[in-house]
């Protein structure tokens, strides 16, 4: 079994669905930071059989909506002095602003820099979001 030292202070993204770890690592641009980060892939898990884990040895702001959009299994553990001080389960966000663009090419959010695309969730099962401006449905895909 591969062993990785625990972190003293920082964030652990646990229960990432196997295969999503690298995508999240890239989306968070963790390859460009100057503090220790670890990506573990295909780790054995009781509940998930296999999972990915990301350990970040620093306190950084992570957008939980963004994580929820990518993978609703993730648990965010905040570590201080080697102890977990908070544990948050992410979920699919009900409202989203600026995280992805509207699929409708005629939508104002695709042609005006002033406005950020804004959506609200209409179907959790198919991850469908309705645009607040043009009302077209966009299905989010990582």
């Amino acid at each position: 079994m591969l062993e990785v030292a625990s972190i003293k202070r920082g964030i652990v993204l646990d229960h990432i669905s196997s295969g999503n770890g690298l995508k999240i690592f890239n989306k968070l641009m963790l390859d460009q930071v100057d503090f220790p980060v670890v990506l573990l892939m295909n780790v054995s898990s009781k509940d998930m059989k296999r999972k990915d884990i990301i350990k970040i040895e620093n306190s950084i702001d992570i957008d939980l909506d963004f994580l929820g959009l990518i993978d609703q299994n993730i648990t965010v553990n905040v570590i201080e002095n080697n102890k977990i001080i908070s544990k948050k389960k992410v979920s699919l966000p009900k409202k989203i602003k600026g995280l992805f663009s509207c699929h409708n090419p005629r939508c104002i959010t695709n042609s005006d820099d002033y406005v950020k695309p804004t959506f609200h969730l209409v179907s959790e099962t198919s991850m469908e979001y309705k645009c607040s401006y043009c009302e077209e449905i966009t299905k989010y895909k990582l």
Partner: protein
């Protein structure tokens, strides 16, 4: 300054049914006695911000404001304004808020009037945004239905033509569903059917029956209100498809002979060839009266959004 809270009309749902009824009732009163309202908006200025061409919507808004005693400013071609220099909607509307008391915007991009409303300190009216919504046409349509059918509720309504991109259809069908209309007949080519998202929300939210048909003659005998729309050539990928389909959705006296005697034929105009000229003389063809009523619906809307007292 009065304490009137700023209201916008971006989509029909911005008004409750009571408010829609209020506008329709006021529009009817204004139609019957326009002179009584000729000073209702004296000193007020309407800005008409038309980023794409319009005949009826712009002129009817301008006529409405002039008949209320107000004034108008604006542009009818984005190339003649600072928009051509790349000015954002937010900047334009912030300035217009200082120049005018109320503004109507038509824009080819869907959601543009909503964006404008976020930066405006005056009421914004959506005068049509792409293929999305056209709420003031809906007010016009409701007033027309009220005038000719006495009630807005309880009719079998058919929409014919371009139901995919037809913004007048999208606004009206949603509103009639709120008025408890339980059955709609949708007549269009497969390429131009009502968007799935709209169909889904109509069924989920209002439990309406949507009957789809390919030809007018198959269903015309069932219809109380036939809402015709123009099939736009630019929506087709090739000329052959357009040529094949355009005549399928043509209403003429021959087809009309199978319709109910009290059916009405509506159209937001402009028409191209979807209503034959021989229908114009039939009393069931109310589309020119509909265009006329648009002025009074818009007069009523302007006074409502400006908070003007019209209890005369």
């Amino acid at each position: 300054m009065n304490n009137h809270k700023i209201r916008h009309l971006i989509e029909p749902e911005d008004f409750t049914l009571e408010e829609l009824n209020e506008v329709v009732a006021l529009g009817k009163k204004m139609y019957e006695a326009p002179a009584e309202y000729k000073r209702a908006c004296e000193g007020k200025i309407l800005a008409t911000l038309f980023y794409e061409p319009s005949t009826r919507t712009r002129f009817s808004f301008e006529t409405a404001m002039l008949r209320l005693g107000g004034s108008i400013i604006g542009f009818s071609d984005a190339n003649t304004s600072s928009v051509s220099k790349g000015e954002s909607i937010a900047d334009t509307i912030r300035c217009m808020s200082a120049y005018a008391d109320i503004a109507v915007m038509r824009h080819p991009k869907e959601g543009a009037p909503k964006l404008a409303s976020h930066y405006a300190s005056i009421p914004i009216i959506n005068g049509g945004d792409g293929g999305h919504q056209h709420p003031t046409q809906t007010l016009t349509d409701l007033l027309t239905i009220k005038m000719y059918k006495e009630t807005i509720e309880g009719h079998t309504v058919a929409f014919c033509g371009d139901l995919k991109f037809g913004r007048t259809v999208h606004s009206l069908i949603r509103t009639l569903a709120r008025y408890n209309t339980k059955k709609f007949i949708l007549i269009s080519p497969e390429e131009l059917t009502l968007p799935d998202t709209l169909k889904r929300s109509l069924k989920q939210d209002f439990d309406v029956e949507l009957q789809e048909a390919r030809y007018i003659e198959d269903v015309i005998s069932e219809i109380d209100i036939l809402y015709m729309t123009r099939i736009q050539k630019e929506r087709f990928f090739n000329e052959a498809d357009y040529a094949r389909l355009k005549d399928s959705y043509l209403l003429n006296q021959s087809k009309l002979s199978h319709a109910k005697k009290d059916m009405i034929v509506m159209h937001p105009l402009p028409r191209v060839n979807e209503i034959a000229y021989d229908v114009d003389d039939d009393p069931r063809g109310v589309y020119f009266k509909q265009a006329e009523l648009g002025v009074y619906a818009r007069m009523a809307l302007i006074t409502k959004l400006l908070g003007v007292d019209v209890s005369c």
